[in-house]
Subunit: 205 residues, 2 copies
């Protein structure tokens, strides 16, 4: 069976099982792709979208922004052909040696230092955070200090400590965002959200 | 808060919430790390371990085997410092040009062709499959044809089409395996299982 056929059939099953579930108009592709990558229907309830965040993301991707992830895993999961076609530069500074050095010197996490490094990138920037709540906290701090003005933030870290709180802080901010409420999330979820938006612009390959 | 402290506290929360849940002795670290990476307690019930698969995996990793993943995302998620320390070579052939060419010529998925390529690797091999059911089917075919004799297979693809069936076939085989029953799984789950075994041998960094 052709992989595109399998994907099509998978989305039909997801749609059928969602049944009459109300999803926010314009977010359906994203919710379904997240369920597709996790087989977890909780995301039909967990995902929160700020007003107009989907067209904001589409517009940013259409014009070839920077896309910053907090993990190499999220970076790996984002469609390279789609990103290249749109001139999107995907960055992840978690494995950067200077970032590691700065984190050590200042007693902060590498994830936080990596976000500070990304804040210095020239040009418009979307952030996709799937792992580290400290990455969200660091980003919110950079915004308060006017070091960065993110176009939008995909905030879906996973875990048990500071995760819910960091996502609530992002939800309560004025930054356009997609957040997975509660403990669930992950690098795979962050990548799936990016891919759903990318595939709404360029054909899936 | 120090990342290692956060992880420790997370595992305490997971242990507390698992309560009196019976886990197979020797598999606790793996189950908890999978829950840690997904915040999904379903894995306390979903994960199936064939007899002695954990010591078999530990022994393979201790002696520096090949570790083959079906996605770049799973490869990215596996601890490089731990793998390097043990002399484990992590391979993923999904983006290999020759593999793509062969898949096209023969009308099979790239995931299946990538497993055939991996089967030709010299030396002992563990497979970690988090995405493609066709990767499991291809691997079982290679085993039947005596092209490869895997030390163990981590079979945790996610999805809605052929996924449950592929995992049941692996469960019913004589190959040492860890399988996530049902639809759930993913590259993050495959990486978390590998990391749990790695961290039982070398210290987490």
């Amino acid at each position: 069976m052709d992989p595109m056929e399998i994907e099509k059939k998978s989305f039909q099953i997801i749609s059928r099982e969602l049944g009459n579930k109300k999803l926010m108009p314009g977010t359906e592709d994203i919710v379904k792709r997240v369920i597709h990558c996790s087989a977890d229907f909780d995301y039909a309830d967990n995902l929160v979208f700020s007003e107009n965040v989907v067209p904001i993301l589409r517009n940013a991707f259409l014009h070839g922004c920077n896309l910053v992830t907090d993990t190499m895993m999220a970076k790996s999961g984002i469609s390279k052909p789609a990103a290249e076609k749109l001139g999107i530069n995907i960055h992840c500074f978690i494995a950067d040696k200077e970032v590691a050095q700065k984190a050590k010197e200042r007693g902060i996490t590498r994830a936080a230092a990596a976000i500070e490094r990304a804040a210095a990138l020239p040009g418009p920037c979307v952030f996709a955070i799937g792992n580290a709540p400290t990455a969200i906290l660091s980003l919110l701090q950079c915004v308060r200090e006017e070091k960065v003005d993110p176009i939008a933030v995909i905030g879906v870290p996973v875990g048990f400590v500071n995760v819910i709180e960091s996502k609530e802080m992002l939800s309560n901010s004025k930054i356009p965002h997609i957040v997975a409420r509660g403990r669930k999330g992950g690098s795979n979820i962050a990548a799936a959200i990016c891919n759903a938006v990318l595939y709404s612009i360029v054909q899936r390959v």
